[in-house]
Subunit: 150 residues, 2 copies
């Protein structure tokens, strides 16, 4: 299976990326109207990839998820190439009786087996993963996720 | 320098990614209205990253670029994780008297020094790079770019 993108220069460092009938604007500067930077889109791609895995696996484990979020923060190197040297990911799952082991297992399957974006940057970007579970009237429970693979 | 993204589950595998005041919709299915898949956004991120480098370096080399495009096609593995195993990139530069060595040098600097997304996937994704130059009434000239680093 293949995916195609056509990028066309507009002006300055502004580009239009076209994928089938959809377009997304790119620019090098943050907060330029509706445009995104390539490094922002990379984080969205990584977060979206693992989000879909985890959400789907939680369903398969019959966890009744009411709300699900991921907070991502990537730290870039100071030197060129200004790649992400580390990325913090926090998964937040809200629902009645969400099991810690179910969330941990979903994250593990995403990280080790399913998430294509994680697989491509393995070894070059350090991931710091945490998760938080809340439900009913209980306060949030916070956990560190221990990465098994390097 | 750091970049933050918040992802919030909407329904099914649909998510909203928020970066400062901008939002982008994600979905697992292609062509779902304005949404993108994580793997599509990854390609946009890679293409945008090298596009900005190359466009900027061509300016610094005083190449008078009238039109600049990148065509990208990524082939995914059949097995999980369904990461890109190879990505074809074709840079197309149009303008009067565009020098082949200038384009080649711009691509090389992007690939080896500046492009953060390429740096993060180095070693895990094979890049097949070509470029095309056209200008005035001349027909397109096509070139293969030889990757030096593995």
């Amino acid at each position: 299976m293949s995916v195609s993108v056509n990028l066309t220069w507009d002006s300055g460092l502004k580009f239009d990326a076209q994928i089938n009938d959809r377009t997304i604007q790119l620019n090098s500067v943050d907060q330029m109207g509706p445009a995104f930077t390539p490094m922002e889109l990379f984080l969205v791609s990584l977060a979206g990839c693992t989000a879909m895995d985890v959400r789907w696996i939680l369903d398969r484990q019959r966890q009744k998820v009411e709300r699900f979020q991921i907070f991502v923060n990537g730290k870039r190197r100071d030197e060129e190439p200004r790649a992400y040297e580390s990325i913090d990911l926090e998964y937040v799952v809200r629902g009645e009786n969400i099991r810690k082991d179910a969330v941990e297992r979903a994250i593990r399957l995403s990280q080790e087996k399913y998430c294509s974006v994680m697989a491509m940057v393995r070894g070059s970007v350090k991931l710091n993963i945490r998760f938080r579970i809340s439900g009913g009237n209980k306060p949030d429970e916070k956990f560190e996720y221990k990465t098994v693979i390097p």
